[in-house]
């Protein structure tokens, strides 16, 4: 069970692997040699498990249906059909099957956990949180329940509560790389940068291929003022994975803060090559061009960013600056006012300092 939870998984495919884990962990094949002669339900059930494992989900579903038709109180069949339906993105029927499994076996922490996952997939985050809570109540050392509840709480910006859940997940599984990673993020959001850096480091030690931890540790080091340390992390990441536009964009931001505007512009350019519709990279390159006094290029990049996202306040602010330097005072004022309308208050200050007057 913990083999998966120790997160020896591809970072980008947690949901898929979670599903695989749930089936394998929960359901053992019922041995044919021990079956009494007429155990038709078990036969279908075992066939369903085999088909699930070969990723023939639709065929597996039919077998679990037959198993349940033959034996309507077959808890494991409900559970596995729910898991199969989850894989088929049939979340509502999956929840119904988990309901049945829980009805028949109320102490099943994995059924609560599975239902929580399905409910999350349905966007029912509060209900999912309740299911994770229940799973953790039923079995306090079940690390995934704590971890996923922590993630939900993190997304509600309740970082303190999230951190407490990640603490519990780590207590239940001291090698849980994801939990270290996400606890680091919770610490980072609370401004506790040193603790965050330590936890990201721990996650990386446990799972060196958890590369996003490098990016996040870099961002945290940047926030803590350790720009050179941040640059080192970005460099390590890019040496291992060179097709991530976000990594180049964030390294560019660090180079920008180190006043290496040429280097920053080169990174933003690379990010744009990897993802031509990455508005952040375009906006950031506009900022670097402003520093390099290449105002027309800055205005062009900010305009492209705004074409991708017309509500992008920062791009309005930067284009305003470029336009001012290009002697388009009216255009600059419009951009600064728009940035202020979109929530960047400093737009009002920029406009006032350049004598824009009212809107």
């Amino acid at each position: 069970m913990k083999t998966f939870l120790s997160s020896k998984v591809q970072f980008v495919l947690p949901a898929l692997l979670l599903g695989s884990f749930a089936v394998q962990a929960q359901v053992d094949t019922v041995r044919a040699s021990t079956l009494p002669p007429a155990q038709l339900a078990e036969k279908y059930y075992n066939s369903g498990v085999a088909k699930y494992n070969s990723k023939s989900y639709q065929a597996a579903l039919q077998d679990f249906d037959k198993a349940l038709a033959a034996k309507p109180d077959f808890v494991k069949a409900y559970y596995n059909r729910a898991t199969t339906r989850y894989e088929l993105k049939s979340y509502v029927p999956a929840v119904q099957d988990y309901d049945q499994a829980i009805r028949l076996e109320p102490a099943s922490h994995t059924a609560y956990f599975g239902r929580g996952q399905a409910r999350e997939a349905l966007g029912q985050r509060d209900e999912a949180e309740q299911d994770y809570t229940k799973a953790a109540e039923v079995r306090a050392d079940y690390a995934p329940a704590w971890y996923y509840r922590g993630a939900l709480r993190f997304e509600k910006a309740d970082y303190k509560a999230a951190q407490a859940d990640f603490d519990q997940a780590i207590k239940a599984d001291a090698n849980y790389a994801y939990a270290y990673h996400d606890r680091a993020s919770a610490e980072r959001q609370q401004g506790n940068f040193q603790a965050a850096i330590q936890d990201y480091t721990k996650a990386l030690n446990l799972q060196p291929e958890l590369l996003p931890a490098l990016l996040n540790r870099a961002a945290t080091r940047r926030r803590a003022g350790d720009l050179k340390g941040a640059l080192g992390d970005y460099n390590s990441y890019i040496s291992k994975k060179s097709d991530n536009a976000t990594a180049y964009t964030n390294r560019g931001g660090t180079r920008y803060e180190l006043a290496d505007y040429q280097g920053a512009a080169a990174d933003f350019t690379k990010a744009i090559e990897l993802n031509a519709s990455y508005a952040f990279a375009l906006n950031n390159r506009a900022a670097a061009y402003l520093k390099l006094k290449e105002y027309q290029k800055a205005a062009d990049d900010a305009t492209k960013a705004l074409t991708l996202n017309p509500q992008y306040a920062e791009a309005h602010l930067n284009r305003g600056h470029a336009r001012e330097m290009l002697r388009d005072a009216d255009g600059a004022c419009q951009d600064w006012h728009k940035a202020a309308d979109l929530g960047l208050e400093v737009g009002t200050t920029y406009a006032a300092n350049s004598g824009c007057g009212g809107e």
């Binding site: 993630a151 990673h181 996040n216 508005a279 906006n283 920062e314 400093v346 200050t349 006032a352 300092n353």
Partner: protein, 680 residues
């Protein structure tokens, strides 16, 4: 290896020891006519160069003519360089001085100093310092060619320049264009506070009398004017103001009141004096002397009005100051002597080109002292808590190693004007527009991170930039046209500016007789009553309560004065009550006294005083409050001796709105005290 090295050494030696070529028959025997003409030019140049005082600008064209014949004479190159150093194109001296030194390192005992000057004026700070230091070493004996004090000052200026150039001012500097500038010298611009009018001095060829100054060779100075024709820095073709402002001699404008109705003129009489001219309609009246409290036998040059028009800041080199030219302040209508602004502003060196911002507390001036980077630099100082702040150099590239003088700035603080010699000029000095871009505007970056290991959803962050200071001017400009409400004709009304808190008229202005235009500057930090009055009309009052630090704004308010007639209503904008009460606040005193005076001036006048509210709250309450407030005004007037029979009071609550109640501005207009003429 050995031979090529020796060869290189010999080449270098040869290059360094280039010989000065004499203007001699031995050298130019095959071009006797050319030599003769060149010697003639040299002789004429020398006559100007050796005259007392030296006429460098007259010498220069002759020297340049001789230089065309023989460009390799050390002495001639030195004289050209020296003449350029004393011309309007000082940076051009450098290549001639460098060549003179190359041709003959001993060409002149001042050569290192002159090279220092040439480098300094080209903003080559470090190289200039090196030459000045070499000049220091060469300055020995009882009669050194250059004073050590002067050299030390120049070194300090270069050090200042190095520091200031490291952090350039964020400005655009644009030529004001051919509507204003000419191929001749154009300088000393002055503007109205709203930049609608610019006056400047020019030595162009269509000067009054079209005479040339025999001393300098150029045309006499005249004052020219241009008006803004659009919002985008477009100006009408400048026109000569003509007589009586301009005469056959030098006539230079040095100051303009914020409303553009009064001008200060410099004349050469009496060692240099200041005069004042008034605008009547579109014609400037003959300038009048400013009197002996300002003008002395010494040199009085530039001057500026305070925004209330009651005081003058001016420059004089009279005795008793800090040294050279100093800035003084004087009340124009007062009796006391002019006050030297003291050592925070004035230095042992020259101060010139004083200008007062319409905010009433910011002064701009030029100085050869403080941390000048060379010649006169422009400085800024604020008068706060009873004293002037340490002058702040406006920095590079506004200031240069040469003289930067006669700077003026708009009320908004956005635009400055001055004259400068620049590469994109139309010839000689030109007038330039400086656009201030304000504090640095840091760009904003975005980034995102995938903060949860089990989620693919990134979280966006914006890299926060540090807060940016707000740097707008703290003054409100109120301007417009005063007319007769019935005939729509302009009126030459008087505009009184009142400090309501102190119950004091702090300034009075007149609208232009022909256009009815007026402009008043209202520095922030005062509750202003503005009263527009004209004999035969009921007064009009406005209120501007501008807290300290209120940012720049420009309010256009056309005012139509009403003649006294039964039924006419006038809003009393400067009557204030405590919130929700009928207690008159003391800031109302001036308006109430004005009302009282109206009864005295017009013995048969009868008025109804009425109170009005917006529609916020219960109608009954509003009606009662407005009634009590109107009565409070009547009671005040009766207590001051106005016959009770001449006054009635009425409370109309929200029943007579003059604007919408849907907006804050509309509701504010509806909350008012007004009077109606019920008998005359």
């Amino acid at each position: 290896m050995y031979k090529p090295l020796l060869f290189s050494f010999l080449l270098l030696s040869f290059a360094a020891r280039a010989q000065s070529v004499e203007f001699s028959k031995d050298r130019f025997g095959n071009d006797k006519d050319g030599l003769k003409a060149a010697l003639r030019e040299l002789k004429e140049g020398d006559q100007w160069y050796n005259s007392d005082p030296v006429r460098y600008e007259q010498a220069l064209p002759h020297y340049l003519a001789a230089q065309k014949f023989n460009a390799d004479n050390a002495e001639l190159n030195l004289k050209i360089g020296d003449s350029y150093l004393h011309s309007g194109a000082k940076p051009q001296a450098l290549p001639y001085l460098q060549k003179a030194y190359k041709l003959n390192p001993d060409v002149d005992p001042r050569i290192h100093y002159l090279l220092g000057r040439g480098l300094h004026l080209n903003a080559k700070w470090a190289e200039a310092i090196a030459e000045y230091k070499a000049a220091q070493l060469a300055t020995t004996g009882k009669n050194p060619p250059v004073s050590l004090i002067d050299i030390r000052k120049k070194i300090t200026e270069c050090e200042n320049g190095q520091k200031l150039a490291e952090h350039p001012s964020r400005v655009f500097i644009d030529n004001a264009g051919p509507s204003i500038n000419s191929p001749y010298a154009d300088y000393s611009p002055v503007i109205s506070a709203d930049e609608s009018v610019i006056l400047f001095t020019s030595r162009r060829d269509n000067s009054t009398g079209e005479q040339k100054d025999p001393e300098t060779g150029g045309y006499f100075e005249d004052v020219f004017a241009s008006t803004r024709t659009g919002a985008k820095d477009k100006w009408s073709a400048a026109h000569n103001l003509g007589q009586p402002v301009n005469t056959d001699g030098h006539d230079a404008t040095v100051g303009l009141s914020p409303d553009g109705q009064r001008m200060l003129v410099y004349v050469e009489d009496n060692g240099g004096d200041l005069q004042e001219a008034n605008l009547r309609g579109t014609e400037w009246r003959k300038p009048q002397k400013l009197g002996s409290r300002i003008n002395t036998k010494y040199h009085e040059s530039s001057a500026a009005y305070t925004p209330d028009g009651r005081s003058l800041f001016f420059v004089s080199d009279k005795e008793g100051g800090q040294g050279s030219r100093d800035i003084y302040k004087i009340e124009i209508e007062g009796r006391g002597p002019a006050q030297n602004l003291g050592p925070v502003i004035n230095t042992p060196y020259g101060e010139e080109g004083v200008f007062l911002h319409p905010d009433g507390k910011t002064m701009y001036f030029s100085s050869e002292g403080h941390n000048s980077m060379g010649g006169y630099d422009i400085f800024k100082s604020m008068f706060e808590n009873g004293k002037w702040s340490t002058p702040e150099n406006l920095g590079w590239p506004i200031n240069t190693p040469d003289d930067d003088v006669f700077f003026v700035i708009s009320a908004s603080g956005r635009h400055g004007y001055y004259s400068s010699v620049r590469e994109d000029g139309l010839g000689s000095k030109d007038i330039y527009l400086i656009t201030f871009l304000g504090p640095e505007k840091p760009p904003f970056l975005s980034q995102e991170d995938q903060l949860l290991a089990s989620r693919a959803q990134p979280v966006k962050e914006t890299s926060l930039a540090p807060p940016v200071p707000i740097a707008t001017a703290q003054v409100t400009i109120m301007k417009g046209v005063v007319t007769d409400e019935a005939t729509k004709q302009p009126l030459e009304a008087t505009i009184d500016v009142i400090d309501n808190t102190r119950n004091e008229v702090i300034a009075s202005f007149r609208a232009n007789v022909q256009s009815g235009r007026y402009l008043v500057s209202l520095p922030s930090g005062v509750n202003y009553g503005i009263v527009v009055r004209q004999d035969g009309y009921l007064f009009h009052s406005e209120n501007f309560d501008l807290p300290a630090g209120a940012a720049y704004s420009e309010v256009v308010k056309d005012i139509a004065l009403k003649k006294l007639d039964v039924g006419v209503k006038v809003v009393l904008n400067n009557i204030f009550f405590d919130t929700g009460k009928a207690t008159l606040r003391k800031e109302s005193t001036n308006e109430l006294e004005r009302l009282q005076a109206l009864f005295t001036e017009m013995p048969t006048l009868r008025l109804e005083i009425s109170g009005h509210t917006d529609n916020v709250g219960k109608a009954e309450y509003n009606k009662d409050l407005s009634q009590r407030r109107a009565k409070a005004v009547v009671d005040y007037l009766v207590a001051k001796g106005v016959d009770k029979a001449r006054l009635t009071s009425a409370g109309y609550g929200d029943t007579q709105p003059v604007s919408t109640n849907l907006t804050k501005a509309g509701r504010q207009l509806n909350r008012r005290t007004e009077f109606k003429v019920t008998g005359k």
